[in-house]
C-alpha cells in the first residue's frame, strides 16, 4: 500500500512584518505647549482634498495651518512628511473610562433575592415591587463622573484607535443616569472632563427580581416618571409665578427628569436590535422627549423613521460575527473527506464484497482506491435543503448588518458611531467591513468627526482641523482607513502621543537550526492507556529541512513504521502514525510539546480517545 508523506519543509520563512503600535511618551511631561506638525498631508474635514500643510497647535488649540506657516521657535517639531493628518475621532456614545460597578456592594433591599429567601423570615422591606429607586435601576439623578477613573485602560486603548473625545454614560439598568463629555487625555480623572451631565442614558434593562424587570414594566415606569416630571415642572413654574401655591413636592427621580421633559437634555436610548429601536421610538412618540437612538445595530429596518430628522442616530461599532459552520466546515472538509475516505477504504477492505453498503461499492475491494471511496461518501452524505436555506438567510442577514452604515448613508440619514458595545481591537476591522459593504471613507470619517460633533453640540470646537478648533489630530502612516494604515501620533487637546511602529521579524517557528536541535535524534516514549503502558522509541532525522521519522515498538509487529504529516511549529510537534491492530487500521495522532530533552503531550486514537504521552531523548544525532 502506497502512502503519501506530508513532509513540511522547514525553511519556509518569510519574515512576516507585524506592526506594533506602542505609545512611548505617555508619562513624559510635555516640554512645551506648542506643537508644529510639519508638512503633513492634511485632510481637514470629511470630503476635503488632501493638502500638504503645517499645523501649529498651542495650548490645546489649532492656532495656524497652511503650506508656509511660520513655525514658532518654542514649537516641538513633528516632521510629518508623507504622513496623513485627520481630525481626531469623536465617540458619540460610550463607556470609555467608566469603571465596572462594584458587584460586591450590598444591595439596599432585602438580601439574597426572593429565590433564596427563608420563607419563615419576614423581610425588612415589604417587597421588591416597592423597591428603592436605586434597586429599581431608576437613577436619572446620577452623574457618570464618580464612576470614571483615569486609570481605566479603555482610555488609552481607544485613543490609540484615533479617538480624542467621547460622550460617556454610566453603567446601570433602566435609567443609569447622566452622560458627560470627556477628552481622552490627562493626568488625573478631572482632566478628562469637559462637559458634565449633557445627556440622559436609558435602556431596556430590567432590575431582575425587582420592579421593573421587563420591557413592559420599564415602559409603564417611564410613562409614570415622565408624567410626574411634567407635573412637577408645571408646579414649580406656578410656585415661582403665583401666590398661595403650595410648595411643589420633591422627588429625586422626577426632578432629574425635568431637563428631559423640557427637551433641554436628550435621552440616549440604547437600542441595539430592531425591536429595541421600535419600542424606543414608540416611547418617544408617546412622551415626546428628544431622543437619540444609540448603539443601533439594526436601524436600517426602520430607516424611514429616521428620515424626518427628529430622531438622531448613533450606530454601534460592534458587528455580528460570522458564526456559520461554513468556514470551519470548509477547512475541515478536506481533512475529513480524506480521513473518512481512508476509513471507508479500510472498512471496505475488511468487509466481504456482498456486504457493501451501496451499489458503487460493489466492485472488488482490492481494486478500490481513494477516488472511488470519495464518490461513495459524496453519495451517502445527504444535504439538508432546509439547513442550506437557513444558512443562506443567515449569510444575507449578516451582510445586511455589515451594510447598515452604507445603506443609511446612501439614504442621506445622518448618523454617528459609538463605541459602547465595540471592542477597540475590532475597530479598524469593523470599519473596513462596513466600507467593504457600501460605506465610503468620507462617510465613515464624518460619522466619526463632524456628525458626532454636531450631535453633541461641539461642532464649534471639534470635528475638523481648522484654526480655533481643539488640537485633536490623528497622524497616520497612510490614508486612515486604508489597509495597513497605522497611527503614528495622536494629538489630544495639544497633548502628543507617539506610537512606535516597528517591524518585528516573526519567525514561523520552523527554522532548521532550532528544529534540528529540538527534535533530531532518538527518543523513548510512553503512552499511558487505562490498561497498560505502551512503550517504544521514536527517531527523527532532519535532511535539508525535511523531517522524517520512524517508530518502533513491541506492539508494532507488522506494517509501516514511518511517521506521517510531521509538523513542527515552535516547540509543538504533531505527526500521525497508522497502526495495524490485528487487521484493523488505526490512525494515531500525536501532539507533543518539546521541552528540550523531554516531551509531553497526548495521542489521539480515533474512537478510543486520547491518552497522555511522555518521552525523553536517548541520543542526539551524529553530525
Amino acid at each position: 500500500m502506497k502512502r503519501k508523506f506530508f513532509l513540511i519543509p522547514l525553511f519556509i520563512l518569510g519574515f512576516i512584518a507585524v506592526i506594533i503600535a506602542q505609545p512611548v511618551s505617555e508619562d513624559l511631561p510635555q516640554v512645551t505647549g506648542c506643537i508644529a506638525l510639519i508638512n503633513a498631508k492634511v485632510i481637514a474635514a470629511p470630503g476635503k482634498p488632501v493638502q500638504v500643510e503645517t499645523i501649529i497647535m498651542r495650548d490645546g488649540l489649532i492656532t495656524d495651518i497652511g503650506p508656509r506657516v511660520k513655525i514658532p521657535a518654542d514649537a516641538y517639531r513633528v516632521p510629518a512628511d508623507s504622513l496623513y493628518a485627520y481630525p481626531a475621532f469623536i465617540d458619540a456614545f460610550s463607556s470609555i473610562g467608566v469603571k465596572n460597578p462594584d458587584t460586591d456592594a450590598p444591595r439596599g433591599g432585602p438580601q439574597g433575592g426572593p429565590g433564596n429567601r427563608d420563607r419563615n423570615s419576614h423581610p425588612a422591606v415589604d417587597d421588591e415591587g416597592n423597591a428603592s429607586l436605586e434597586d429599581a435601576g431608576i437613577t436619572p439623578f446620577r452623574s457618570v463622573r464618580p464612576t470614571v477613573d483615569i486609570k481605566e485602560k479603555s482610555i488609552a486603548d481607544w485613543r490609540a484607535q484615533g479617538f480624542a473625545i467621547a460622550h460617556i454614560v454610566p453603567k446601570g439598568k433602566m435609567i443609569p443616569g447622566k452622560g458627560s463629555l470627556i477628552i481622552l487625555s490627562g493626568k488625573k480623572t478631572d482632566d478628562l472632563f469637559w462637559k458634565e451631565d449633557i445627556s440622559m442614558f436609558a435602556q431596556w434593562s430590567g432590575a431582575g427580581d425587582t420592579y421593573p424587570s421587563t420591557v413592559i414594566g420599564i415602559m409603564a415606569k417611564w410613562r409614570e416618571l415622565y408624567h410626574n416630571a411634567t407635573q412637577d415642572l408645571a408646579q414649580q413654574t406656578s410656585y415661582t409665578n403665583a401666590m398661595l401655591v403650595p410648595r411643589p413636592h420633591y422627588n429625586q427621580a422626577h426632578e432629574a427628569l425635568i431637563p428631559v421633559v423640557k427637551k433641554d437634555m436628550p435621552v440616549y436610548f440604547r437600542a441595539p436590535k430592531v425591536k429595541d429601536i421600535s419600542r424606543a421610538l414608540a416611547m418617544q412618540k408617546d412622551l415626546g422627549m428628544k431622543m437619540v437612538i444609540s448603539d443601533a445595530e439594526e436601524a436600517w429596518y426602520l430607516k424611514d423613521q429616521f428620515k424626518s430628522g427628529t430622531i438622531s442616530l448613533v450606530l454601534s461599532l460592534a458587528l455580528p460575527e460570522d458564526k456559520s459552520d461554513k468556514k470551519k466546515d470548509e477547512a475541515k472538509a478536506e481533512e475529513k473527506d480524506k480521513k473518512e475516505a481512508k476509513e471507508k477504504n479500510e472498512e471496505a477492505m475488511l468487509r466481504p464484497a456482498h456486504a457493501q453498503p451501496d451499489a458503487t461499492a460493489q466492485q472488488p475491494a482490492k481494486e478500490k482506491n481513494v477516488d472511488s471511496t470519495q464518490t461513495i461518501i459524496k453519495n451517502t452524505i445527504k444535504t439538508d435543503p432546509e439547513k442550506e436555506a437557513f444558512e443562506k438567510k443567515r449569510a444575507q442577514s449578516l451582510k445586511e448588518h455589515y451594510q447598515q452604515a452604507g445603506v443609511l448613508a446612501k439614504e442621506g440619514i445622518p448618523f454617528s458611531f459609538g463605541t459602547l458595545s465595540g471592542k477597540s481591537a475590532d475597530f479598524t476591522k469593523n470599519i473596513k467591513l462596513m466600507m467593504d459593504n457600501g460605506l465610503t471613507s468620507d462617510q465613515a470619517l464624518s460619522a466619526l468627526t463632524t456628525q458626532p460633533a454636531k450631535l453633541l453640540g461641539i461642532e464649534k470646537n471639534c470635528g475638523t482641523i481648522d484654526i480655533g478648533k481643539m488640537a485633536n489630530v490623528i497622524v497616520s502612516s497612510k490614508p486612515i482607513f486604508e489597509k495597513d494604515a497605522a497611527i503614528r501620533y495622536m494629538i489630544v487637546e495639544g497633548n502628543l502621543y507617539e506610537y512606535e511602529v516597528k517591524e518585528k521579524k516573526k519567525n514561523s517557528g520552523k527554522e532548521s537550526a532550532s528544529a534540528k536541535g529540538l527534535i533530531s535524534g532518538t527518543w523513548s516514549y510512553t503512552i499511558e492507556t487505562p490498561d497498560q503502558k505502551r512503550e517504544g522509541t521514536l527517531e527523527f532525522t532532519d535532511q535539508s529541512g525535511s523531517i522524517t521519522g520512524t517508530i518502533t515498538s513491541s506492539d508494532i509487529t507488522s506494517g509501516n513504521k514511518e511517521l506521517e504529516s510531521i509538523v513542527l511549529d515552535g516547540n509543538t510537534l504533531a505527526f500521525t502514525f497508522d497502526l495495524d491492530m490485528g487487521g484493523q487500521m488505526m490512525t494515531l495522532e500525536f501532539n507533543l510539546k518539546m521541552n528540550g530533552e523531554s516531551f509531553d503531550g497526548n495521542v489521539n486514537v480515533g474512537e478510543f480517545g486520547s491518552f497522555p504521552v511522555t518521552g525523553q531523548r536517548t541520543s542526539k544525532p551524529k553530525n
Partner: protein, 449 residues
C-alpha cells in the same frame, strides 16, 4: 393564488408607520358560514378596503379586483383566540402582586413565528394576555395577525377595548406568597389583595376628581402625584377596562363576582374557569362570560376537577362562552377544539363555531368588527377545504383586512422575517417556544410545582 403572500409581504415591508394595509378581493362561490346569519351556499363575498362590502350570489366586482375561487370550499370568519400569549416578548412582570399599569402591547413581537402558525390554523385575531403570576397582572392586547409587518404597532387591533388580566388561586400564591414571602399566601390573601387594590383605586380616583373640580376654580391647583397603577384601577372602576380573570375553581369565581359587586365593576370574562359549569347560572346572572379549554384539566391540584361538557353547560345556561388555546400550539387547531363540544354536549354547528368566533369577539368587545361574516365587518376570513368542524378539514387560506396572510399553496418552510445573524440554529430546529401563562416567572420560584 401563488405569490399573493409574497407580494403582500413585499408591500408591507415598506409600510409607513401607523398605517395598516388593507386589500380588495372577491371570494367566489364558497359555502359561507356566517355564524350569525346562517350558512349560504355558492355565495360570493366582496371585500373593499379590508371590509366586507357585499355578500351574495354572483356579485359584481370592480374591474381588476382579485378573485379567489372558493368553489367547494368553506368560508368562515377568521378564528379568534380569547386567551393566548403569542406575539409578545414579555408576559409576566412578576415582581409585584399588582401591576395593572404594565401593558403587553408595549412588547409586541412582530417576528414571532407563532403568529404565522396561528394564521395557518385560520386564526386572525388573538388576545395577547399578561400572564397569571400576579393577582392583578398587566393590560392585555388584542392583536390582529398581520404577519409580515415590521412595525409592532401595526398588530394592534384598532379600537379594541382595554382588557386586563387578573389571576386567582395557585399561580399568584406560588409566585408571591411562596416565592417572595409577601401577600397573598392563601386564597384569602388573593381576595384581600384585590380589595385593597380597588380601595386604593377609589382613593386615587376621588383625589383626581377633587383636583379636577378644584382646577376649574383655581388654575394653580396642585394635582396628586400621578400613579399609573392606581389610575388603571380607577379605570377599571369606571368601566373602561374589561377584566379577564384567570380562575379555575367555582369558589374563587364566586368570590371575585362578590368583590366586583361590592365595587360596582361589571365587565368580566373568566378565563379557564374549569369549574365554571358549577356556577354557570351565577355567571349568567352576573353577566360574566367564560373562556375555557375544550378538554384540558388535572394538570395541577386546583384544576383537578373539570369536564369536557364545560363549554356546553355554560352555553346552555346563557353564559357567553369561548374556547381558547393559551398555547402557541393549540392555537393552530381551535376548530378541532370547538368540534369537541359536538361530541361532548351536542352543540349545533353554529353554536360550536361561535365558541371560536363571535363569542370571543364579544368577550373582547370587538364583536361589532369581527367574529362573523357580515357586511361592514372586517374582512378577516378563513377558508377551509371542508367543514371546519370536520377532522378532515384543512385550512387553505387566511385573510386579514382583505389581505392574504396565509396561503397553503404558497407556504415556504421558512417564513421568518427577522434573522439573527448569530443564531446558532434556526428557531424551528427543535426549540420549544413556550407561550403560556407563567412565562418569565422562573426567577420567582423557590422550586417548580
Amino acid at each position: 393564488m401563488r405569490n399573493i403572500i409574497f407580494l403582500s409581504l413585499l408591500f408591507s415591508f415598506h409600510l409607513v408607520v401607523g398605517q395598516v394595509p388593507t386589500g380588495d378581493m372577491i371570494i367566489r362561490k364558497g359555502t359561507v358560514l356566517t355564524i350569525t346569519k346562517g350558512t349560504l351556499t355558492e355565495t360570493d363575498i366582496l371585500v373593499q378596503k379590508g371590509k366586507i362590502s357585499a355578500i351574495g350570489k354572483e356579485l359584481k366586482a370592480p374591474a381588476g379586483t382579485k378573485e379567489i375561487d372558493a368553489t367547494g370550499l368553506f368560508v368562515m370568519p377568521g378564528i379568534i383566540d380569547a386567551h393566548s400569549h403569542i406575539g409578545i416578548d414579555a408576559v409576566n412582570e412578576a415582581t409585584n402582586p399588582i401591576t395593572p399599569e404594565v401593558k403587553v402591547g408595549d412588547a409586541i413581537d412582530p417576528f414571532d413565528m407563532a403568529i404565522y402558525r396561528a394564521l395557518a390554523g385560520g386564526v386572525t385575531t388573538s388576545h395577547a394576555m399578561h400572564g397569571s403570576a400576579n393577582v392583578i397582572g398587566g393590560q392585555c392586547q388584542t392583536i390582529k395577525h398581520r404577519y409580515g409587518l415590521m412595525d409592532p404597532s401595526a398588530f394592534i387591533f384598532k379600537d379594541a377595548p382595554r382588557t386586563l388580566k387578573f389571576a386567582l388561586g395557585e399561580n399568584p400564591i406560588r409566585v408571591h406568597g411562596e416565592g417572595r414571602g409577601v401577600q397573598p399566601r392563601t386564597r384569602m390573601g388573593v381576595e384581600r389583595v384585590i380589595r385593597n387594590a380597588f380601595a386604593e383605586g377609589q382613593v386615587y380616583r376621588d383625589k383626581m376628581k377633587a383636583y379636577e373640580l378644584e382646577k376649574v376654580k383655581n388654575p394653580n391647583a396642585v394635582p396628586p402625584v400621578y400613579n399609573e397603577r392606581y389610575q388603571t384601577m380607577a379605570d377599571i372602576l369606571d368601566g373602561k377596562i374589561i377584566i379577564q380573570c384567570h380562575s379555575y375553581r367555582a369558589d374563587e369565581i364566586l368570590m371575585l363576582m362578590n368583590v366586583l359587586r361590592d365595587f360596582g365593576v361589571k365587565k368580566i370574562t373568566f378565563q379557564h374557569a374549569n369549574e365554571g359549569f358549577k356556577v354557570a347560572p351565577e355567571l349568567a346572572a352576573f353577566g360574566a362570560m367564560a373562556s375555557v379549554f375544550s378538554d384540558w384539566w388535572a394538570y395541577k391540584f386546583e384544576v383537578y376537577y373539570s369536564t369536557a361538557y364545560n363549554a356546553t353547560i355554560l352555553t346552555r345556561n346563557g353564559v357567553v362562552t369561548s374556547i381558547n388555546s393559551d398555547s402557541g400550539e393549540m392555537i393552530r387547531h381551535l376548530y378541532y377544539e370547538a368540534a369537541k363540544t359536538q361530541r361532548y354536549g351536542g352543540l349545533s354547528d353554529d353554536e360550536a363555531l361561535s365558541l371560536i368566533t363571535i363569542n370571543p369577539a364579544r368577550q373582547l368587545g370587538i364583536d361589532d368588527k369581527v367574529g362573523s361574516i357580515e357586511i361592514g365587518k372586517d374582512a378577516d376570513i378563513a377558508i377551509f377545504s371542508g367543514h371546519p368542524l370536520s377532522v378532515y378539514a384543512v385550512p387553505q387560506m387566511t385573510i386579514v383586512d382583505g389581505i392574504v396572510r396565509f396561503d397553503k399553496e404558497n407556504d415556504p418552510s421558512d417564513m421568518r422575517i427577522y434573522i439573527d445573524p448569530e443564531e446558532a440554529t434556526p428557531a424551528y430546529y427543535g426549540r420549544e417556544e413556550v407561550d403560556e401563562c407563567m412565562r418569565g416567572t422562573d426567577l420567582m420560584f423557590n422550586n417548580r410545582h
